[in-house]
Symmetry: C2
């Protein structure tokens, strides 16, 4: 099977100033195309380290994809290094220069500097692939039947190049295996309990089929993976096993596709032609953000009232001041009033309301950091639940959002239509 | 200088099912402690690949930190591999077992399975570090004066171990250099233009001081880095250079600390004892989410109305139906009415209102995907601006949020207090 190494270059990756989201995206796309990512390596803007990474990955992989270090500034050394590594000389690529000129004249609409012009220089030992979205050209090198491709690290430039040029070229050159995944998503059960539940299934799996457990924020995804040349055969086999797996964990499945919970809820609403609104205190708009991240969510999402202060809860959601004073903002009574206030304001079928203490400050003895109340419901009925998370602010926010969405999902499924 | 390699283990990293946020966090913390991350390597749950990574990193780095592959399920092979790599035998660690029992009895409050009990088994060639947050123990190995530490990949478990045990132990063993960074953040200027503006400064920098450009969503961060044994000396030198750099780019600086724009805006509001509310259409609560991610934001953030539908804009913000029909939801007139409606509802000093088309659908010839209107203002004055982004949904949402926050920042700075 054809294998890839991904090398990402940049000091910012090694001091933790940015999170590398490029590699995950690249791996996903390559995998779909039947190309297996074997290793990912991140190195700094350091001549020796980059050289060493090229040497090592060249030894073990068929394709080496490189991102980063192609900017116009002095800290970017990838291009001169590749020029030396592939024993070339720097020349101006007319095609790349035309692209830079076009971008400045027509897209950026600002004057081009000498520094920008220099971005059109490339080693004469590479094939240039034009980067329509940016000034740094993509460079394709070949050595001993192995392929090296250097791309800019700017995510949307890299993505355009991968989708439009690199993956199509690679699948043309190599006979790629077919890789099939089937993923289901469970909620509300731990990894160990799941493993016990499906132990005999797992032990009986053929050697070429892998099962992986992917836990995250109350969710565990189970993924079956198979690969081979005969697409029909491996798909049939994996589908058969996937049905067995679904049956074994059916009480916990929220979807049998690899999709986020907010999409599962969205599809459910869409199929019922119903709508949702949220009233968020402690999550500060995060639930609403998750929902609206999904294209097409305007069909089922009405809006959200993020009521961070007492006053906002009273003014926007008609929560009674007395209720806030008597029970506190983080209480069953307040989230119930928030949900009712929301539904009386907005013409949505369902409401989610949340209030909690996310930390690091704001906890008390009675209500420590991580205490959350959630209400979900409609005009007939409001269901409430309390949670106690034990994590940092970000994780508490995420867990609150996930649990609130899942509570709504269960609530909707109990409604007759 | 002491160097670290980070090895992350898990098939999910190589098929792109998860984004690796652990490495960035680890790198940040190590860096602060004066330990330089030299390389990061991600490999799958594959015996040979893990072995090869251990061998390679052992050759070049002083410390090898390993995360992942310690779960209780069959796809997790890191522990038996480390047992063989360090020529040990598996034994039950009483201390680790006590921790597992404690967690199930007191924290998880559910029955412990045999699979959970097995997590207390470790190679007898390691020193066990108790993981208070989870059942997989952390293992510390030493070989030829080099240190290998294996941790679980669950972020909050790994973070607890790093902060409480691993970094303190490492800094005790090694005499760590002092690393100093100074970062400033610019908005609204490209990387090349910045580089031209500070070219002579950059060329005159001493060899041991590095300058990096970190572009992201309209923002470019400039980072100066120095390292050495004498903390006072290197801090003085870098502070002196940092003042020069700030002077050179002063028209574009939004902060001279490494902090996100939403924190800059928050600090500005806090210093003026003023408050903010947002009315969000296309960003769907993302601006509100960014603001409330910052601990303490309740002191200056009142709330948000996420008005995704026409009806929500009318009902929640009193946008006139006529205005929506005449100008469309994405218009100067509508965002102005949204901002005014918000301020009349909520007792905030400032408002941000946004409406736009984020894609992939919804664009028209007149208003293609990426068209955005933003209004910022107070009761006296509303300022509007239009933007045209050219990216995918996620990036359009992020760019809208960043530009709206920056427009508000400028607006606030123009107000006398």
């Amino acid at each position: 099977m054809i294998t890839v190494s991904i090398i990402t270059i940049g000091d910012e990756l090694l001091i933790g100033q940015v999170v590398d989201t490029n590699s995950a995206w690249m791996a996903q796309q390559l995998n779909k195309a039947g190309i297996r990512v074997k290793r990912r390596v991140a190195v700094g803007d350091d001549w020796n380290e980059i050289w060493r990474a090229l040497d090592e990955e060249f030894t073990f992989s068929d394709i080496i994809l490189i991102t980063g270090g192609l900017g116009p500034t002095a800290d970017d050394i990838t291009k001169p290094l590749l020029c030396e590594y592939f024993k070339g000389t720097m020349v101006t690529s007319q095609e790349a220069l035309d692209n830079v000129v076009y971008l400045f004249e027509k897209v950026f609409k600002r004057p081009m500097t000498e520094r920008n012009r220099k971005q059109a220089e490339v080693p004469d030992t590479c094939k240039v692939i034009i980067n329509k979205r940016g000034t740094a050209p993509c460079m394709w090198f070949e050595k001993d039947k192995k392929i090296f491709v250097s791309m800019p690290g700017v995510p949307h430039e890299m993505k355009g190049l991968m989708e439009e040029s690199i993956i199509p070229s690679l699948t043309k050159i190599f006979e790629c295996a077919h890789i099939t995944h089937r993923t289901l998503v469970t909620f509300g059960i731990g990894e160990s309990m799941l493993a016990d539940m499906i132990q005999s299934f797992e032990e009986a799996l053929p050697a070429h089929i892998k099962l992986a457990y992917l836990p995250n924020y109350g969710i565990v995804r189970l993924r079956l993976t198979s690969s081979g040349i005969n697409k029909i055969k491996i798909d049939q086999e994996i589908d058969h096993l996937f049905i067995q797996l679904q049956e074994l964990v059916k009480d916990y499945i929220i979807t049998n596709e690899d999709e986020p919970l907010e999409k599962v809820v969205g599809k459910l609403l869409l199929s019922r032609k119903e709508t949702l609104a949220t009233a968020e205190s402690c999550t500060g708009g995060y639930i609403s953000h998750l929902i609206t991240n999904i294209p097409g969510s305007s069909a089922y999402f009405e809006g959200s009232m993020v009521t961070y202060s007492y006053l906002a809860k009273e003014q926007m959601l008609q929560v009674k001041n007395e209720t806030l004073i008597t029970y506190g903002a983080v209480s069953k009574e307040v989230v119930t009033e928030m949900a009712k206030g929301l539904l009386s304001h907005l013409k949505a079928n369902y409401a989610i309301a949340v209030s909690g203490i996310m930390g690091p400050d704001g906890g008390t003895v009675d209500k420590p950091v991580g205490t959350v109340w959630v209400a979900v419901g409609n005009n007939e009925n409001i269901l409430t639940k309390t949670f106690h998370f034990r994590f940092d602010r970000q994780k508490n926010i995420q867990l609150t959002a996930m649990n609130a969405l899942n509570l709504l999902r269960s609530f909707i499924l109990q409604q007759t239509k």
